[in-house]
């Protein structure tokens, strides 16, 4: 039997995911990182992006918008600012958020926080990416 690793993904509002998985690919602050069982203990910040989980040959994707990831000897803990499973993503809303963020970045107006607009853009892009992948897979099937 292949080895697995326990993964908990939590946000301030709820426990999003808690299962034994084969592998995790997370958007670390210094680039994507893959985590397999017996990974060394690690603590990293995460950036907005796509977090992929492989379990029994099936891959699940989640859009997360920043947070922290801790690899402990017994488990992996993801403290996400927000996390959505692919099925939960509202495509229209994400699209709209992306458009709005781009607009703000193009025409910087006083009173608009550029860092926040940029973060919003990253978040919406991450959501779209996850949602897009699911759609393509459904069409292909």
């Amino acid at each position: 039997m292949p080895e697995t690793i326990k993964l908990d993904i939590v946000t301030a509002d709820r426990l999003v995911y808690s299962e034994d998985v084969d592998a995790i690919v997370a958007p670390g602050i210094e680039g994507e990182l893959g985590i397999l069982p017996h990974h060394t203990t690690l603590m990293t910040m995460l950036q907005a992006g796509e977090l992929r989980v492989r379990k029994a040959g099936e891959e699940t994707a989640m859009a997360i918008s920043g947070g922290f990831l801790e690899v402990r000897p017994d488990r992996v803990v993801v403290l996400a600012d927000s996390a959505e499973r692919e099925a939960e993503i509202d495509l229209a809303r994400a699209e709209e958020a992306k458009r709005r963020a781009q607009e703000r970045l193009r025409h910087p107006a006083p009173g608009i926080d550029m860092a926040r607009a940029e973060a919003a853009l990253h978040r919406s892009v991450a959501r779209l990416k996850v949602a897009e992948k699911r759609r393509r897979r459904r069409l292909g099937a």
């Binding site: 908990d8 509002d13 709820r14 426990l15 602050i29 210094e30 910040m45 922290f68 402990r72």
Partner: protein, 287 residues
């Protein structure tokens, strides 16, 4: 003799009050249940962030930990209190308790204090006492999301970081049980790192480095504490209201019983009097 019609009107009045209080009790019950659920849903995150910070604090050397601004204890010249109260009344002694406790806390400390009032009842009270109010957040609703509470944390984190205030407390009603809520004032800044439970002394690999991770985590920790205090305050408010309204409904029921007895007595009396009048009249005619 009491006027029959007047008694009848009072019965009707008590009945409609009972109807309203019963409805309010039921609403408070369901809102309380929801608030409790939300509190429970956020618990995994709180547990995990405690654990992560404990791990981090254990691995960081003393000096590194102490130099972080949010952990540093400095001489206290000014403090801030986040006062969390309901927006609405009709919840028994809850509001009075938390306001009085906070006020005497301020008097005891005797240090310049600014207040961040969440909820109208605390705001009104502190205004009457002429306290320095730094910010107010009213009508946040019965189920604020984590994002809704971030502006509150932002203010205290900013004020603390730029040295305007040297310590931050949060005052709220802790939810002990449906029948008991306890007003408390707790210190949240500077952060007291939780003690590491499992002596996990392994060396962690940090990305980008330990300091940045700590700088990212600590504000989160404060934000989550504020969020939780607000959720607990809401659960307390709703359960206090539920109990208060149940008592009100019972009292109205007793009042209705008393009035009904009075009404029946008065009715009987008037019938007896009418009968006496009639028999008196008949006798007079038969003479």
């Amino acid at each position: 003799m009491a006027d029959i019609r007047q008694i009848k009107r009072r019965i009707k009045g008590a009945q409609s009050v009972a109807k309203i209080t019963r409805a309010m009790e039921m609403i408070a019950t369901s809102k309380m249940r929801r608030a409790q659920e939300r509190g429970l849903a956020g618990r995994p995150y709180t547990e995990k962030i405690h654990q992560v910070i404990a791990d981090l604090a254990a691995t960081l050397s003393e000096t590194e930990a102490v130099t972080h601004p949010l952990l540093q204890r400095r001489p206290i010249n000014k403090i801030a209190i986040v006062l969390i109260t309901p927006d609405r009344g009709l919840c028994g002694g809850l509001i009075g308790n938390i306001n009085r406790l906070t006020n005497s806390f301020i008097q005891e400390k005797n240090i310049p204090t600014s207040l961040i009032c969440v909820g109208r009842k605390g705001l009104d009270y502190m205004r009457r006492y002429g306290r320095d109010i730094r910010a107010e957040f009213t009508w946040m609703g019965d189920r604020p999301g984590f994002l809704d509470t971030l502006p509150i944390s932002r203010i205290i984190l900013d004020d603390y970081t730029n040295g305007t205030i040297d310590a931050v407390y949060v005052a709220y009603s802790r939810f002990v049980s449906v029948l008991a809520q306890k007003p408390v004032v707790e210190e949240i800044l500077p952060v007291e790192p939780p003690a590491s439970s499992a002596g996990l002394k392994t060396d962690f690999l940090y990305e980008p480095d330990a300091k940045s991770v700590l700088s990212g985590l600590l504000p989160r920790f404060v934000e989550i504490q504020i969020y939780h205090a607000i959720l607990e305050a809401i659960a307390s408010e709703q359960s206090a209201r539920m109990v208060a309204m149940r008592n009100a409904t019972e009292n109205a029921g007793e009042l209705i019983d008393d009035l009904t007895l009075m009404y029946n007595k008065a009715r009987q009396e008037s019938i007896t009097k009418e009968l006496l009048d009639i028999t008196g009249g008949v006798e007079a005619m038969s003479r």
